[in-house]
Amino acid sequence: MLWELAVLSEAGPLNAERNNADALLVARIRSGDEAAFEALVLRYQAPLFSYLRGFVGDVEQARDLVQETFLRAYKSFGSLDDPALLRSWLYRIAHNQACSLLRRRRLISWLPLTFDHHSNDAALDRSAIETIRVAEALEQLPVEQRAPLLLHLVAGFAYAEVAAMLQISEGAVRMRISRARAAFRVAYGAEENDDAS
């Protein structure tokens, strides 16, 4: 029973109030209200950054992608059919931008670096270590698993919403997230012998 409740709480309830507020915001933006667009950026920049940071695994690139997402959104408000779906529309733009980046990145070799000012630190604090461990474990996940996992866990979209966003079935979303959870457990808890068999 305890675990079933946890399943529900992770997905989160549909927030009708938020959707109404988003619809109002879109109406104001479409009428040329610049302050409304700033309010939209303020509202969504942090959650979008969280998703993108986990997805692309890089703070600076996530920051660039957040900017690109809002710029694309500003130019494309005409294509937003249902203003109440603003949130998922923004995430879809962000996700597409991130996928483009990852496609380009396959051609480039990325090397992590260490720096003097880091090596001078006596020790990284616990939260910094956890951040690195989580990022490294997420990086091990295939992109097609990482995206639904983060959209569900971090962005709080329900399975059906993720399915609509990624244009796959809800069953496929559940299976990909399950696989992502299992793969993350292996990568993140590598020191633990998790299989009990």
Binding site: Q45, A46, E60, G171, R174, R181, A182
Partner: protein, 428 residues
Amino acid sequence: MHPDTLQLAAYIDGALDEAERAALRGHVLTCSTCAARLERLHGDARQICATLSATNAAPDVRAAVRARLRRRQPGAWLVRGSSLAGALAALLLFALLIGSRSGTVGRVPDRLFVTDTQNGQLVVLDAYNGERLGAVDVGSYPTEVRYDRRLDRLYVLIANGVVAVDQGTLTIVNRWSAPAALGTNAGMALAEERGRLYISQPAAGGVTSLDAATLTPIQAFSVGTAPAALALTPDAQSLFVFDQASGALWMIDLSNNNRATRLLDRGDSRRSGWLALSEDGQTIYLLRGSVSSASAGQAGAGAQPELWRVAVRGGQAQGPFLLDKTPPLWDLLLLDADHLAIARGDGLRGGVDIVGTTSLSVTAHLDPSYDEHHLVAGPRGTVFALNWLHGTITRYTTSGSSVAWRVPSAKWQPWEGVFVAGGWRWPW
């Protein structure tokens, strides 16, 4: 028989059929080991959420987005000023009527100030058509030039110091003589608001700060072995220095007793480097090449050039983004928030590579059949490219990938330059 991790995860996500779900649920209720494993999966989810939702890393991009939208759609932001348009038009008409008779009013064109290493001059051109407007002798081997809006003057780096030139009258108003020759590849950076000029001295292994108004030395500090290219953040808090002896990038914290931090030290053969800062001052781009590829122009000589992107805050670096070896590299310039430009030239061909700041990959080649050496940022969407070997200056329109004009002259060597926007000269 215990379920595996994937089955436990599928249980959480409702990916099991009814029978599997009931069986697994029954097992977990009676098996403390599997109950703990299930809890670890939930703990992972909480850990991912907590880590990625930490607010301390979340940026506030409002100012950057606003700035980029303004650049892309200037008209949308000008509506507010429409109520002032009538008053401004009346004021302009009044000034024209009064000033045109006295000769004290008129349009000053956009100008390009260029150093001429062959003749030791600072030359001024009309940026619209390349017409030569004037020149002033500044001293031996002038290379870099910076424009100070606050004092309306230019600073020119010469072989043994710096001269300050009034941009309106083209007269030298001040001079600083270095104790020794600055050395090839000395760099210069201007902190306009703070009134400081920073000069790197590769031969002396240090950087000197000057008071911009008087050109008197304030401080000298050592950085690396042969500090060359400089870049300063807009807030004048961080000075970046490329050490051509080691190929390392240094960051000087000007607000903290000039504390130096070495950010990149690859310890390889690359000894020429160029720096460019993003408009918001949050990112610095480093282009590293090898001396042999830049100076000798030998096909295939030296190591493969590489681009790096380094976060000003935190120092995280990304790279290397590898570039073609040939034609040799000559310069790096930030065009706008989305693009960098790299000059290439082997004496015959090269052109200007346009590089995306997000992907750090080449997105366009301007004029590859003509070699170029140094780049100067022009009005939005344009770049000036200088070729000291053939004595040409070319104005490119980057959006249309076209040549607006090219002025040739065999009698000079245009080396570096700065664009100064024109305006109206008023009678008061």
